[in-house]
Every structure is written in C-alpha cells, then in structure tokens.
Amino acid sequence: MATNGEPLLVVEDLVKHFPITRGIVFQKEIGRVRAVDGVSFTLEKGQTLGVVGESGCGKSTMARCVMRLLEATSGKITFDGRDITKLSARDLMPVRRELMMVFQDPYASLNPRKRVGFIVAEALEVHKIGTQAEQKRHVQELLEIVGLNPEHYNRFPHEFSGGQRQRIGVARALAVRPKLIVCDEPVSALDVSVQAQILNLLKSLQRDFDLTYIFISHDLNVVRYISDKVAVMYLGKVVETADREQLYQAPKHPYTGALLSAVPMVNPEMARARKTIVLEGDVPNPVNPPAACRFHPRCPRFVDGTCNVEEPQLEAKAPGHLAACHFPLESWPLADLRLPAGQTASS
C-alpha cells in the first residue's frame, strides 16, 4: 500500500480508567476498571492498523478515546500534527470531520426512523457543507460508490440486508471526506460471502480516497487480509505490534502465538495434523489485573520469579517488531509454546 511516511495519528501512553464508585451523595471511588492502560502507536497516512484481542481487552475503548468519544484519563493523541487530547467541543468540530467511524452492528447503528438519504447526509448537515441540492447529489454519488442503488435514497434501513446496511454505514462515514476511519468490528455480524464484499469495498475505498484505517476485529484472518500493521492487545495493553507479515509469520509474544494457533484452518488435513494451543481460562478481570506481566496466569511459558515479578516492556525483538515478553518465541510455528529446557536460567 502506498504511504508517504508521515504519521497521521500518534497515540502516546493512552490510559482510560473507569472509576467504580459507591454511594449516591458522597461518591467514593472503590476501584477502577483499567480498560486501556498505556497504549502507544503511530499510524501513517494511507495505512491500516489492525487491532486484535479477545473481548474485554480494551480495543473498542481505545478506539473511542482516539475518536474523542470518551475522555482519556491520561496520555496524548496527536492527529494530523495537532494535539487533540484536550480540545474543547467547539475546537474539536473541524477535527470531527476528519475522524469517522463504522460500527459493528449494522442493525443497531442506523436510525430505523430516518431515510437512508438523511442518515448519510446528516454529517454534511452538521458541518454545513453544501446546499440541499448539492447534498442530495453528493449522497447519491456516495451510495453509488459503496455499491448501492442511488435510487434507494428514500428507503428506510429495514428495507436493506445486513451487508447493504453496512454499506450505508460506510457511505455515512465517507460523506465528509475524512482522513481516518475507525472500523469497529465492521464485518463480524455478516456472513462470510458478504463479509468479503465489505472487506473488498473498504480496500478499494482506501486506494481511491487515500484513507487511513484503524480496523478492530477479533478475527485474525480478517485482520491479516486488510491490515498493514497489527497491534495485539491484552487486558488494556499492547503486547505485540509489527508489520502484518512479520507478526503472522514470526510472532514473538506467546499470546499472539496462542491466538494464531487457535484460528481454524480451512485445510482439514493441516488443521487436524497441527496441535492447537488451547489457552486455559478467560481474560482476567481488568479491575484487578494480574501483577507484572498481565498474561502470566495463562501463559504456557510462565517463569516463576520473573514473569510475576517484573513487568516486561514493549521493546524491539526484531527490527520494527515490538513485543512485551521476557521469553519471546524463538521460532514459528511451534507445536509447544513452553520454553525449551535450559532456557529459563540463561535468559
């Protein structure tokens, strides 16, 4: 994918904690959900950053903070050379034009009582772009671009199928010519055949309109298909980030390894021959995340005295390949993620 090397979005040490309070008049904080706990990344123009992780790992919260739909607890978000972390609602208005979002559920994210034309044109109205006639023409163009019939301008969302609704969601995001679109699980509610249509649409729009995407998904196959860079999140932190091929061909973090090995393969003989690494248990509660490395209670490479004492930093394990692990994977694929004998003492 063509990139011009400038960062469009720089996120530094983003933190979002949700306080848990008790009491009605005198509210007392009794704990906090550490949904996002120190996430940093840089995204270049024209690129796609894929964000993967299990539910509850903070992917969506992170995206909502970047969109300024949630106020970050701390950290800094620089968009197009401008610090937008603390901008007031009024100063944020012009920035909002450039940051758009496509949501997961195409049934819930379109107002059932509004016509498609209105839904797509609403952002134009808000930002006072064009006269009514111009808006209508623009919306019809957009519908055509995303592969819908422009004559369906006056229809209601319920008259469309799931895939068509997601196209409407994409047209809406595209209406004000944004620079960055955050796609939060845009295809997880769709059938595979329709999913492929939407993925191809997103890819061709990226080429035509020079778009930058943050693409959130729990489906590693989909992320591989669409992303240039991938960040793997676990319990509010990025545990590994690298260029797509590097991450999929040579994962360093055992969590990434476990995720990759759990993805079903379509070749039945390969699928049945390989050994799946089944992670035990669920993602721990982010109110009380495990000490030091947050993955240590589930990690097959856990080393007592290191992993539960010292938190690993996100650092380069290979050029451009960052991972937060004391004992990164030596090679891939591995049938057994456990540390080779004798490795423990020397590392």
Binding site: V192, R224, V263, P264, M265, G281
Partner: protein
C-alpha cells in the same frame, strides 16, 4: 443403520405473502459417534432443518413432510408429549447465543438439576450429584460453589460450557449444536471445540454442527452438507468437500474466506445476497449469483447426483466435470495452501 436418517424433509411456512419453503426436500443421515456439519449463509435453512428434526417449529402456519427416523421412530409423526420425552434425553440442542439461552432467574445448579428431573424419577440429591459431575466434566473451575451462581455471574465461554453440560447431562445419542462458537473469541472457540470433541469420544454421541465457518468444519466434521435456499447443494465426507468441492456455491464460500494459510490474493466474494424464499429464482436457485451460469441453469433445476467415482459425494450442478476439475485445482492451490 444410521442413528438419524432424514428423508426428503420439507418445512414450508405459510405467511401473508405466500409460502416460504425454508427447507425443501433435504435428505441426510448421521452415524453414531460421528459429526455432520451443515454449512450455509443465513437464511439457507440450516437452523430450520434442525428445529424441525427436534420438533421445535411453531405449531401453526407450518407444513412439514418427509421422514426423520431416529432410533427407529419417525420424529415427524410423533406428538408433543412423546417428543418431549425424547428431547433433552435422547437428543438435545445447544443454541448459538449463550447469553440468552439460560434462564436468568434460576441458578446454574437448579437448571441442570431440572434437566435430569424432567426425564427421570430420581432423588434431588442424585440429580444434584449428576449436575456437579457434568459441570466438572465441561471444565468449570470450583464447580461446587458455582452451582449456586446465576448465569450473569458466568462469562460467555463459561455459559456455553454450562449449555453443553445441560445438553449432555442425560447422555444423549444425538447433540445438535447451532453455531455453538459463533459468539465467542477464537481462544474460547478453541476451548469449546476441543471440549465437544473430548465429550464426543467419552460419550459416543453423534453431533450435528450448524455453522457458517468453514474453518470449524475443517477441524471437526466427518461429513459435510452445504445448504442453499432450503436445499442441499453438496454433501460429502470432509475430505471430499475440501479437496474436491464440486458446487460453485461451495467454491464461493471458500473464495470469500480470508485465511492465514492461503496466498495473499484478493478475496472473491459471492456477488449479491441469498434469494427470497418466497419467490426463489427459476431453475438452479444459485444461478443469479453463479459465475459459471449457463442457459440451462436458468430453466432447469439440477438433480442431486453422485460425483463420478465417489458414491458418497453428491452435488447439484449442471456444469461439466472438466470445468469443475479446473476449479478444484485452483482452490487447492489458492485457498488451501500446500497439502502437508
């Protein structure tokens, strides 16, 4: 003899707009201890097929015909009380959404106990012991204390385990799993799949797995049936289906799936959407979306016929065998990666 033998099953719903042929002449069989996967897009009739077999369709506005022989009895002819005795005992079902298929106002232990007590006259304590044993078997940690917990205190993966425990508590011969892992993360999905495989080995149940994820099928199925618009378009053992897929719809499903192992080629989606079952297209029901459509496809619906040389493999397509072989080769290299 097969455990479940379904012949020419039809489920037609009468609506104000006309008759919806949700299932239109489907035949298949499941052997003891084996897994049959039913694959297709939403609206292809996979779920309705299984609901009909379970006798869970609404009683009004529906016309059912055909046979479903299960342990020698025809399930279609059985009535309410007789079916209720079989359901949850000799055959049971796991639903897609573990969030909504447990009763939120009863404890997990109570719901498991109920599943036993409905079918057997045993003391409550004995039912309790069985419930506890099942919870342990599906890998719920601290099962003794969790028996008294309510569904909202469990995570999605844990609830799906509870559903599986409930379905298997009476040691059924047949388990129908309707998209059991679709709502779950990959890691949890891997846990649930390996759990189902282990329990199948231990209890010897047959499984009908409904899914749209070909990856899950590749990992678990013995036989596969691909459905489209209420009909089976292809049926084969898993090797036949993946290494020698014969129907353009099966190819379409494979081409639209992004994979980790395949080459980095553009995905080829199936154009359009599944047809309305109120007014299905003339001829082959897949013809409006098929890349290989010929004149005959628009007028004449192909019969389900055997693939030359493999009698267990049937498909429903007019295309010439040579064209099919070329596609099979393309898919093997592009989509499946090297065969190890």
């Amino acid at each position: 003899m097969a455990l479940l033998e379904v012949r020419d099953l039809k489920t037609h719903f009468t609506t104000d707009d006309g008759v919806v042929k949700a299932v239109d002449g489907v035949s298949f069989s499941v052997e003891k201890g084996k897994t049959l996967a039913i694959v297709g897009e939403s609206g292809s009739g996979k779920s309705v097929t299984c609901l009909t077999v379970m006798g869970l369709n609404p009683s009004r506005g529906v016309e059912i015909s055909g046979e479903a022989l299960f342990n020698g009895r025809d399930l279609i002819k059985l009535h309410g009380e007789e079916l209720r005795k079989i359901r949850g005992d000799e055959m049971s079902m796991i639903f897609q959404d573990p969030m909504t298929s447990l009763n939120p106002v009863h404890t997990i232990g109570g719901q498991l106990r109920e599943a036993v007590l409905v079918h057997e006259k045993v003391p409550k304590q004995q039912a309790n012991a069985r419930a506890l044993e099942m919870l342990k078997a599906v890998g719920i940690p601290r099962a003794e204390t969790r028996m008294e917990d309510y569904p909202h205190q469990f995570s999605g993966g844990m609830r799906q385990r509870v559903m599986i425990a409930m379905a298997l508590i009476n040691n059924p011969d047949l388990l129908i799993a309707d998209e059991p892992t679709t709502a779950l993360d990959v890691t949890t999905q891997a846990q649930i799949i390996s759990l189902m495989q282990r329990l199948q080995r231990d209890f010897g149940s047959a499984i009908i797995l409904i899914t749209h994820d070909l990856g899950v099928v590749a990992e678990t199925a013995d036989e596969v049936m691909v459905m489209y618009a209420g009909r089976a378009v292809e049926r084969a053992d898993y090797k036949g289906l993946f290494y020698e897929p014969h129907h353009p719809y099966t190819w379409g499903l494979m081409d639209s799936m992004p994979t980790l192992s395949g080459e980095d080629t553009e995905l080829t989606p199936i154009p359009g959407t599944p047809p309305s079952l109120l007014r299905p297209p003339e001829g082959c029901k897949f013809n409006p979306r098929c890349r290989f459509v010929m004149d005959i496809c628009r007028t004449e619906e192909p019969e389900l016929k055997e693939v030359p040389g493999s009698p267990a493999h049937v498909e429903r397509c007019h295309l010439d065998e040579a064209v099919k072989q070329a596609e099979i080769e393309r898919i093997a290299t592009e989509r499946l990666g090297a065969v190890s």
